[in-house]
């Protein structure tokens, strides 16, 4: 998306599949992102400031994969992104919690998945994602948890989520276009809905 999207344009767009309208779906894009990984020791000698992997987790709830094609997921997490068990593993592994995350790059092929991931990663209570967003908490630069500062899959480019990794790295190097001041910990998530889902916690 090259131009600002107004609230009026968003709500005025045609409905595709209720309640999702035109701007709730990401665009198919061509592009490529490369990530160079190496040991922390070697990274220190390279030209760019290193960004460290604090934790990575991949998987999902056992019932989720069996159930999703026929929408048979148990009630307790029907309206979720499928990330809850992975979020817990990620935080446990990195020994941090949602309050420690400075910027979140949430996989956003469809708008509702952002709201559900905010809940599943503990940034707000289950079922409170809508009001949490409406209150401005995910805004840049003034919200407590800026989300998808690069525009995400929905508004920058849909390179199957890899631009989220790139944005997290730039945020932690202090070189992002929409820089979150003093960002030290970034959450990157991948592939909500069908399992396996995956996520990364990066820090500088």
């Amino acid at each position: 998306m090259q131009e600002p999207l107004t609230r009026e344009q968003y709500f005025g767009a045609r409905m595709i599949s209720d309640p999702l309208c035109l701007y709730d779906f990401c665009l198919e894009c061509d592009g490529a992102v490369a990530v160079v990984t190496t040991s922390a020791e070697r990274a220190r000698d390279l030209r760019h400031p290193p960004v460290f992997v604090g934790a990575s987790a991949n998987g999902g709830h056992g019932r989720w994969g069996q159930a999703i094609t026929w929408m048979g997921m148990p009630d307790e997490y029907f309206a979720s992104s499928g990330h809850r068990p992975v979020a817990k593993r990620l935080y446990d592994m990195a020994e941090v919690g949602p309050a420690d995350v400075d910027v979140a790059l949430l996989y956003d092929h469809f708008t509702p998945m952002v709201i559900m991931q905010l809940e599943d990663y503990g940034f707000c209570g289950i079922g409170e994602g809508g009001p949490f967003v409406a209150d401005g908490n995910i805004n840049w630069p003034d919200g407590g948890l800026p989300v998808n500062t690069h525009g995400g899959n929905l508004s920058e480019a849909y390179i199957i989520g890899m631009t989220h990794v790139k944005e997290a790295v730039e945020q932690l190097r202090g070189s992002a276009v929409n820089q979150v001041s003093g960002a030290e910990v970034a959450l990157v998530t991948g592939g909500p809905a069908s399992i396996p889902v995956s996520s990364l916690l990066l820090h500088n």
């Binding site: 045609r14 409905m15 595709i16 599949s17 999702l20 019932r63 069996q66 094609t69 929408m71 048979g72």
Partner: protein, 140 residues
């Protein structure tokens, strides 16, 4: 029947674990596999019980009556062949007595604006071709 895609875009392919389900639908019967080891129902039909990993099932007939658990109204033709069917309603219905098994089907011959979560529906059948019928839902 309004609210279903044309027959030429529907093709059923079965596997050993789903074949009894689709054989029953051809006779306008809905059957739900129940694990003979632990008694857990499951849909869609699948090779292993998600609860106990057993492969043995018995096929329990269900009348398909239930309440709408969730739904969407499709207003965009992902493929041009479904354009004439727009708008149509895809709904999820929870089947009472199955421990939470759900069936996905189009709500046919309805005004999409009238569909709500919690409304009761009954089962009907969309005959695609000889030997192939697909379950659909009707508002009560």
């Amino acid at each position: 029947m309004r609210g279903v895609p044309p027959v030429d875009v529907i093709g059923l392919s079965t596997s050993p674990s789903t074949e009894p389900f689709w054989q029953a639908t051809a006779e306008h019967r809905l059957v739900v596999p129940r694990c003979t080891t632990c008694g857990t129902f499951r849909l869609p039909p699948s090779p292993f019980c998600f609860h106990c990993r057993s492969q043995e099932v018995e096929w329990i007939e269900h009348d398909g009556a239930g309440e709408i658990y969730s739904f969407t109204v499709i207003r965009h033709a992902v493929i041009p062949q479904v354009a004439e069917a727009l708008p149509f309603v895809a709904a999820v219905v929870e089947l009472p007595g199955t421990g939470g098994c759900r069936l996905v089907g189009n709500v046919v011959d309805c005004d999409p604006a009238e569909v709500r979560i919690g409304l009761p529906v009954t089962l009907d059948w969309y005959d695609v071709r000889e030997g192939e019928s697909v379950p659909v839902l009707r508002l009560v």
